[in-house]
């Protein structure tokens, strides 16, 4: 299987099963469309455009690639080598929030349940469960999440200290991350986070009007004016360590590249802005009718991204990062995100879910921190959703880049883990093409 695309008079061929990406001249692109190079009746029609000798030379290059298994590579039968082992955790420090964001998938932090804070004791149990269930994996990941995790800051500090203690005892390495709305981000917390967190996600949607339309305080006022200074202070002290200014776009800001520009102009150099996940009934939801507009918008963003790269304003846009060499192995690319098999979410009362997106839906509880995994039936549903087990994904050129997409999105929109969320697929494919284009230009 191959995929052909062109952007700004640059032509690309991706070979799906080998992962190779070729930048080609237009003649190669023309020869590959409809596989003209295989049929003289077809490729002879290109003689008038390129000349017979050139067409023949181009065909010989194509045949060389095929012979070397660099094009039309046959599918390798991949038997998953990665043994399931829970080694990553989304730890919901609170089911409560000091913001009241209209689009919040967690229902303003409560996940449609009662408000609550995770205790140190429950957190300890969660860490013990993670160490025990991780088998021989050394790198363990804990994301302090919520609600708003900084509302439970003292417990975070206690848990980090506990994690550092037990990682030595068990020859593990904890990677801590935190996702915050920034309201409580004072100097003490900034210093602590910069010292202890491997990655930090700063929630901000971009321009003041974009941010404040959705991200409101409990008094229904905009949050921008408070968080922007806190986030700037944070980034000024972050040094080279990872973080992302992370926004959500909705149908209200289909021109979201302007929000990315705004964040860049304020000095943020690691940015991720992503489509909202919402029921199609919501006014702010992204729907099929927005897809073409959004594809153009990603193109606008790619132009800005390249301009910045060329004039010392270089920045990272999360979805334009792509690892063509040194990326994940084929096993990882096949099994996908790992929800329920290597990743769980933990609620303040200690319940385990396959991922944070399912929290609050009782049928998805897979266990608790005291007893571990108790609902093997639900876990098994997450073991059989590799890209080659989904009909749509199996035939899709992008399958080894997105690895099948988000299970929660698939379930929310199609009530099946085997049918991916089509709007998400279309946007992801556009982002991959642009990422490759950017890589080729760099």
């Amino acid at each position: 299987m191959i995929h052909l695309f062109n952007i700004d008079e640059m032509y690309f061929v991706t070979d799906i099963n080998s992962g190779l990406v070729h930048v080609v001249d237009e003649i190669i692109y023309d020869l590959l469309i409809d596989e003209k190079f295989k049929d003289e009746n077809k490729f002879s029609k290109l003689y008038s455009k390129y000349g017979k000798e050139t067409v023949e030379e181009a065909i010989s290059e194509l045949n060389y690639l095929i012979e070397k298994e660099m094009l039309y590579t046959k599918e390798t039968n991949i038997e998953n080598k990665i043994k399931p082992a829970i080694k990553a955790m989304c730890l919901n420090m609170t089911h409560d929030c000091n913001l009241s964001c209209e689009y919040c998938f967690a229902s303003q932090g409560t996940y449609n349940g009662e408000k609550g804070f995770l205790s140190f004791e429950t957190g300890k149990k969660a860490f013990d469960f993670l160490v025990k269930s991780s088998g021989n994996r050394r790198n363990l990941e804990v994301d302090f999440f919520g609600g708003e995790p900084l509302m439970n800051f003292e417990t975070i500090k206690e848990l980090v200290e506990y994690g550092r203690k037990i990682e030595k005892e068990h020859n593990k390495h904890f990677r801590f991350t935190i996702t915050t709305n920034g309201l409580l981000l004072d100097h003490e917390k900034i210093n602590y986070i910069n010292e202890n967190m491997d990655n930090v996600v700063l929630s901000i949607d971009g321009r003041k009007e974009t941010n404040d339309r959705m991200r409101k305080t409990q008094n229904l006022k905009g949050s921008y004016d408070v968080i922007i200074n806190n986030f700037k202070n944070f980034v000024n002290k972050r040094g080279d360590k990872d973080y992302f200014a992370r926004g959500t776009y909705t149908s209200y800001n289909l021109d979201f590249s302007e929000d990315v520009k705004h964040l860049r102009e304020l000095g943020f150099d690691k940015i991720s802005v992503e489509p909202v996940v919402a029921s199609p009934n919501e006014k702010y939801a992204i729907k099929e009718e927005h897809v073409e507009i959004l594809k153009k918008e990603y193109e606008n963003l790619a132009k800005y991204y390249i301009e910045c790269s060329n004039n010392d304003k270089k920045f990272q846009f999360f979805h334009f990062n792509i690892e063509l060499d040194g990326g994940p192995c084929i096993y990882k690319r096949t099994i996908g995100c790992g929800a329920g098999t290597e990743y769980v979410a933990v609620t303040p009362n200690g319940d385990l879910y396959p991922c944070h997106q399912f929290v609050g839906q009782d049928e998805f509880v897979v266990g608790n921190v005291h007893e571990g995994i108790t609902n093997d039936q639900m876990i098994s549903k997450f073991k059989n959703v590799s890209v080659n087990e989904k009909a749509v994904c199996k035939e899709c050129w992008a399958k080894y880049y997105c690895s099948g997409g988000c299970h929660a999105n698939a379930y929310n929109f199609n009530k099946s883990f085997h049918i991916p969320y089509s709007v998400g697929c279309e946007l992801e494919k556009k982002r991959i093409e642009l990422s490759i284009y950017i890589k080729a230009r760099s």
């Binding site: 190779l20 390798t76 990655n199 992370r246 909202v276 990422s435």
Partner: protein, 45 residues
Amino acid sequence: MKFIKTLNSTKFTDSISVKGCGECQTSCQSACKTSCTVGNQKCEN
């Protein structure tokens, strides 16, 4: 090659016998939390 430039130097199937350690980052832990984007992550092996 006159008409073709290949951007990467390794195939998915290269060194396949030593891959699959599972030490790489879980995708949702990086920045997204709402989308699965595996292809932009790094191999830890």
